[in-house]
Symmetry: C2
Subunit: 221 residues, 2 copies
């Protein structure tokens, strides 16, 4: 669970951008990669603000400052871009959680740091909820894949924690989905809605409260 | 937390159906109530299958076996019906959880029974996820209200459990949102998706695993 070093991250984000383009359309140059990145970022804003159906390719290329023709160099359609964006956001969630992890962290500390990083990420990228949630309707396979992938990562972490003797044995898929659900809903309340009202709360404090629930439960002892 | 008796439930479902109609359009007769109930049930199937945008009032009245004119006796528009349906589903979730609670249950047992009842309910009414999730786009206020109401109920339960000395003190809104998230995602995985694959799992077993996580956490002691 060590932090990736900088050059690793560079490799990763390049691979991430490359794989976002349609089959056979991966950018061949650094400039192409930047264009693709601009299209993905502009589409996150556009889909987040307008929703899939109202969003348009021409408005996305305008936001990105990219020629319409360039769009079709990388994507066949608005649907293909949306699919690529969901995949890209899954990767961004992964990267933000990973970047918070430090060598030597215990299993519970890893869960706390991953949630705090996710809350901070979601606060900066509130559109992620709307986009992932809209995928349920626009691209159900991406939606399901997004959550199955995250649950799979959580499961691997808690199984490793159990194997290391830090967590109790027998943890598996059910607990992974429960943990993911806690994180998603706490993020909805405190990162997405929270900052619209008077009680946004500090990501570190919220992550600590959820982490305590996760570590020791709510029963009085 | 005692079970409502039959006549209470009759009162409640009548009030629930009455309040589903538009302002000033509550049914005045038993027959009217039945018609309104048919419209709500048919709309759950229609919105669940087709989604809000593809759904049509004429198809809903056809499914319900009700004249088109009757629809406008109770609702001004498809939007108004959708709003009423989200409200009705919130009430149904509440009723299904309540009906599982028995006099004398402890605080942890209440959470377990409420989740098991919700999982059984969601397995029978898979459309609830799609409809509530679509409310985020079609009627954001209903969406937010649905989850804030449920979180409020969970919060009241765990605060009562803490006051009774069964749960630790200091539990509040964060824990309520975390518990709701666990329940929603475990329901998505095992009640909605689960029965499409090889590992549906028994609602009682799944509720027991989540309840153990909630009672004692995942840390090894």
């Amino acid at each position: 669970m060590a932090n990736s070093n900088r050059s690793d991250q560079g490799e990763k984000s390049r691979a991430q951008v490359d794989s976002a383009a349609a089959e056979g359309k991966a950018p061949r140059t650094e400039r192409g990669r930047r264009t693709l990145r601009k299209l993905l970022d502009a589409s996150a804003v556009e889909f987040g603000e307008k929703g899939f159906h109202e969003a348009s390719v021409s408005s996305i290329t305008r936001r990105a400052g990219v020629a319409l023709g360039s769009f079709y160099t990388y994507f066949d359609s608005k649907d293909a871009l949306f699919r690529a964006l969901v995949q890209d956001m899954s990767e961004n969630v992964r990267t933000s959680a990973r970047s918070a992890l430090k060598e030597g962290m215990g299993a519970m500390e890893i869960e706390r740091a991953a949630l705090a990083a996710f809350l901070a990420f979601a606060r900066e990228h509130k559109e992620i909820y709307r986009i992932i949630d809209e995928a349920e309707f626009v691209d159900p396979e991406s939606y399901r894949n997004h959550y199955e992938t995250i649950a799979g990562r959580i499961r691997a972490r808690i199984e490793a924690g159990a194997a290391a003797g830090e967590l109790r044995t027998g943890l598996g898929e059910i607990e992974a989905w429960a943990i993911m659900g806690m994180n998603v809903f706490v993020g909805l309340r405190y990162a997405v809605w929270g900052s619209e009202d008077a009680s946004p709360g500090d990501p570190e404090e919220i992550a600590a409260a959820v982490n305590r629930l996760l570590a020791e439960g709510i029963e009085r002892r």
